[in-house]
């Protein structure tokens, strides 16, 4: 029996869609990218689209003579091709477009690769820039491989040597609140990537437990609220009410641990950001999330903003468990650290947080009780990649002095061996934030005739230049050692 006319039209439209997809890919192939990965992905997709065109043509010719059941199977195959193209067309092609050299500042590519390399050595990045204030850092090669495999296209990845790579997608905000200084937020996203890659969930999830009585109480209050909302004149039958109650209780059973697990992942990622960048992370996080009205409102995916900032400050401040930044013995030694953290500490401690919703209150209680364990786990995962207090204290004040003199924070120390010492990216970010918070009026005063916005822009460029120089220096040192 022949294929239906509507199905034939669908297949022909799919063929056209695939051709358009190929055209878009050809356009992307002509662009210039600051890293190699986007182009490798375009090549894989171009090759795949050609295979898919052949497959659709084969489906069209086979379906005209096939029997009913087989036609249905062929249409299912066509549907899978559509899903494949739809995904890449809607989600991946915009990423590739946003990762060309017109969108991503080339001078940031190496430093960002270096930051990612602290935790994921040897990783390749697809860096894209978007107008929103959003950051992402997630592993993409495993999922791409899975997706290609579901359509038997693994050989394409192998041919382009894409299958052997460990590729991460890094999304930067094109308009962050404090320009380059806000990029410390990547620390949080690296935390998410670590959580997933190293299966930290397996360690943290068993700590998430709720008593039966608590669940019954929360489900009961949700049920009561539902009853109150129902019309009193026409109450539902008793059996329906009983079943609804049961269903609500069952939903609460997985909803509660799911919310707790999401919050635990967020807190873990915040601790990774804090450990990786020190006080600079707290500055970036606070500038982004504290200006909103209600910093005590949680959501299913995120704990309240006040609690997040409080937890990060506490983690940085304390020694056990924590990153040990607060040296109570020496007030002078603490000056830089205090200047970086105090504004945010004061902003979040003015009103204590009290969640009112029963469900969130329960999750909050649990997260409070396991917070220190999460911190210990984050410290364990970070290992030596954490930006220690001793490095902070040794590098940041001197780098700040360079910035006050309107010089890139770099090449600041001539050691006894006459070797330049390369400052770390974390130290540059911390010095950048320190000068931003403490010295901006002085810096603005140096250029009284210039608009403030322009001076601030130049300041951010100075930080970027410092990071770029630091990278060049680092590569030079590595090269000279290998020679």
């Amino acid at each position: 029996m022949a294929i239906r006319k509507s199905d034939k039209t669908y297949l022909e439209a799919l063929l056209e869609l695939t051709s358009t997809f190929t055209e878009h890919l050809s356009d992307l192939k002509d662009r210039v990218y600051p890293s190699a990965c986007p182009l490798a992905l375009v090549d894989c997709l171009l090759q795949s689209s050609q295979i898919l065109v052949d497959r659709i043509q084969q489906i069209i010719s086979s379906s005209s003579t096939a029997q009913d059941g087989v036609v249905e199977d062929l249409l299912a195959q066509a549907s899978d091709v559509y899903v494949f193209i739809e995904f890449f067309q809607s989600y991946v092609l915009p990423i590739i477009r946003a990762s060309d050299s017109e969108n991503v500042p080339a001078e940031l590519v190496r430093p960002l690769e270096q930051i990612a390399g602290y935790v994921f050595p040897g990783s390749n990045l697809v860096i894209s820039s978007v107008p929103e204030s959003n950051y992402y850092f997630s592993e993409m090669s495993t999922k791409i491989k899975e997706f290609f495999a579901s359509l038997n296209l693994e050989s394409v990845l192998a041919e382009q040597k894409f299958d052997a790579r460990d590729i991460y997608h890094l999304q930067l905000s094109g308009n962050p609140p404090c320009n380059i200084l806000s990029h410390c937020l990547l620390g949080h996203e690296i935390g998410h990537a670590l959580y997933r890659k190293l299966d930290v969930d397996a360690t943290i999830s068993p700590w998430i437990r709720f008593d039966d009585a608590v669940i019954k109480r929360i489900a009961g209050s949700i049920f009561e609220a539902l009853l109150n909302a129902l019309s009193a004149s026409q109450p539902p039958p008793q059996m329906v009410l009983q079943q609804t109650r049961e269903i609500i209780e069952y939903r609460t059973r997985f909803q509660l641990p799911l919310i707790a697990a999401s919050w635990a992942e967020e807190i873990f990622s915040d601790f990774i950001g804090t450990g990786l960048f020190g006080p600079a992370y707290i500055c970036s996080l606070s500038v982004l999330i504290l200006p909103f009205d209600d910093i005590d409102m949680p959501s299913e995916s995120h704990p309240p903003s006040r609690f997040r900032v409080q937890s990060c400050i506490r983690a940085l401040h304390r020694s056990d468990p924590g990153f040990g930044y607060k040296r109570l013995a020496d007030r002078k030694e603490n000056a830089e650290y205090d200047a970086l953290v105090r504004p945010w500490s004061e902003a979040v401690t003015s009103v204590p947080h009290r969640p009112t919703d029963d469900l969130y209150k329960t999750v909050f209680g649990l997260i409070l009780s396991i917070k220190d364990n999460i911190l210990l786990e984050a410290k364990r995962q970070l290992g030596t990649s954490a930006f220690s207090y001793s490095r902070f204290h040794a590098e940041v004040p001197q780098l700040r002095n360079r910035l006050i003199d309107w010089l890139p924070p770099n090449e600041y120390q001539l050691a006894a061996s006459d070797q330049f010492r390369t400052p770390s990216i974390q130290a540059i970010f911390n010095a950048g934030w320190l000068s931003y918070l403490e010295d901006m009026n002085r810096l603005l005063g140096l250029f009284p005739k210039f608009p403030e916005l322009l001076v601030r822009k130049k300041y951010y460029q100075l930080i970027a230049k410092g990071i770029e120089l630091s990278n060049i220096q680092d590569r030079w040192e590595t090269l000279s050692k290998s020679v």
Binding site: G69, E72, D73, A76, Q77, S79, D80, V83, F84, F87, S90, Y91, V92, V130, E132, S133, N134, Y135, S138, K143, I144, E146, F147, S150, L151, H169, L185, H188, E189, D201, S205, P206, I208, R209, F210, D211, D212, I215, E246, I247, E249, Y250, R251, R253, F254, L256, P257, L258, A261, S262, E265, L285, L288, I289, P291, F292, D294, S299, S301, H302
Partner: protein
């Protein structure tokens, strides 16, 4: 006025696409088993993936069914939540849901081991796959038309999640 839009991570959306393809391929494979009364070698891999999905949901159910709810694995709880949503409307109580989940999981495992099952069980599995594919489609629609945490107008609206 700057409108900031929260977008879902594309590589999280890929999971939905992968699940949708799995549900579609499972449907096609079940149709072939019904038609030809045997399991083709290529379909065994599809049934294996389907059985892993249902086993994850089953494990999620096990972890929440005791007197102390524990999140032994976030992945299994997420799959359980989706499976539960996919079956919403046809099962009126949790006992029936559990029994059905157990049966579906068992059926998928048998198929993945190249063992044929009754037409009734094939039909139940087929219906689940249809519902699961529809749910994934619904999730995709939400993710493409609606941002994950809503649209906020900076700096006038109060709330947005960024990181």
């Amino acid at each position: 006025m700057i409108v900031m839009r929260e977008r879902r991570d594309p590589f999280e959306v890929i999971d939905i696409y992968n699940h949708k393809i799995l549900a579609n391929q499972s449907r096609a494979a079940i149709r072939r088993v019904k038609r030809e009364k045997r399991i083709e070698s290529g379909d065994i891999a599809v049934f294996k993936k389907l059985s892993q999905l249902l086993e994850a949901a089953y494990a999620g159910d096990q972890s929440v069914s005791g007197s102390q709810v524990r999140a032994s694995s976030t992945h299994s709880l997420r799959i359980l939540a989706q499976t539960f949503k996919a079956m919403e409307g046809i099962l009126r109580n949790t006992k029936a849901f559990r029994e059905t989940l157990d049966d579906l999981s068992g059926a998928a495992i048998e198929l993945s081991q190249n063992r044929t099952i009754s037409d009734d069980r094939l039909d139940s599995l087929y219906e689940f796959c249809c519902r699961y594919a529809a749910l994934q489609q619904q999730l995709l629609k939400q993710s493409s038309t609606k941002p994950s945490y809503g649209v906020s107008v900076w700096p006038f609206e109060s709330r947005i999640r960024h990181t």
